[in-house]
Symmetry: C2
Subunit: 187 residues, 2 copies
């Protein structure tokens, strides 16, 4: 098990997976435009040829990054909700853990909107798909009613707001409490 001092990702997987894993990390932590392909290449331990064999352009890697993040988040969100009791309250410990995470830097989708929303329309499309799917999942936590679709979207809206507030204010607990209040007041 190599734990090299260099920032080279240990090579447990295919080159493609390593690139995607490295991109996921750096894109989220440091920003998409702040991360050049040479950095990705160096840190994933592949060559330029290999990089471009798997991803025809940086933008296609960005799209893949967002798509895979979307899939992964949906999966883990659903799983965690189930583990937390499957009601709307199950959302809060998930969000709490995330907000307190040292790696928290807001929502990758929202950040991408700001970074690339005007130059890469796929980013807007994927963000929309992601948020709508999340709202669908939230809707299933709610008692069925005529309003449940809108209630779920309102909750999604409040979660997005709490994400933003945590990001600029650095006060996760306060944002979480506000989120809880809003969600409860919608019930």
């Amino acid at each position: 098990m190599k734990t090299s001092k260099a920032k080279i990702v240990s090579k447990p997987k295919s080159a493609r997976d390593r690139i995607l894993l490295t991109a996921s990390d750096l894109f989220y932590r440091e920003g998409i435009r702040a991360t050049g392909v040479d950095r990705l290449i160096a840190e994933s331990g592949v060559t330029k040829t290999t990089f471009y064999r798997h991803f025809p352009s940086k933008n296609s890697l960005v799209v893949e990054f967002l798509e895979s993040r979307h899939q992964e988040l949906i999966r883990s969100f659903e799983s965690a909700l189930e583990n937390n009791g499957g009601t709307v309250n199950a959302i809060f410990p998930i969000v709490e853990e995330w907000f307190h995470s040292k790696r928290f830097r807001g929502c990758a989708f929202i950040n991408s909107l700001g970074e690339l929303g005007t130059v890469l329309p796929e980013v807007v499309r994927i963000t929309q798909a992601h948020k709508r799917k999340m709202a669908d999942i939230i809707e299933k936590l709610l008692p069925p009613s005529e309003q449940s679709k809108q209630n779920a979207m309102a909750i999604m809206l409040a979660i997005d707001g709490a994400i933003i507030q945590t990001q600029y204010d650095g006060t996760p607990d306060n944002a979480l409490n506000l989120l809880k209040r809003i969600v409860k007041s919608l019930s």
Copy 2:
């Protein structure tokens, strides 16, 4: 009154003002990183020397852009609230008009967080100052109580959420309705 076909801003003001005006327009519409200094220079009708005389770096222009946008928005927000009756409901027509505006591209501060939050900490600081000031103004619309500070922050949170949802979903009326519901349910 020159209305030249070229995209050169007519020269009503000092070079500095022209630069700032052009930056405000392009940074918001197209993105900060998507706008290079050469573009700013060409469209504001100044030379490189003049540009750098007024702004020692692109980043300092970005900071100035956000600071002046902050001041301007506070001013116009306060004014519009007063014109709309000075209650919390006064927020809605303001937000509605903005969301329906052809120029709407989300919140410049939130977009900047995504674009530059990791590389220019001033962006985070200004965004925080802006949002807190907005919340202070919102608080003044509310009946005084122990909770009014938190209520104002909850409303600010919901506004941010509505901004994001409008941005990715392109459904301003729906987001606005959700915002209204949340604000009312907090009262």
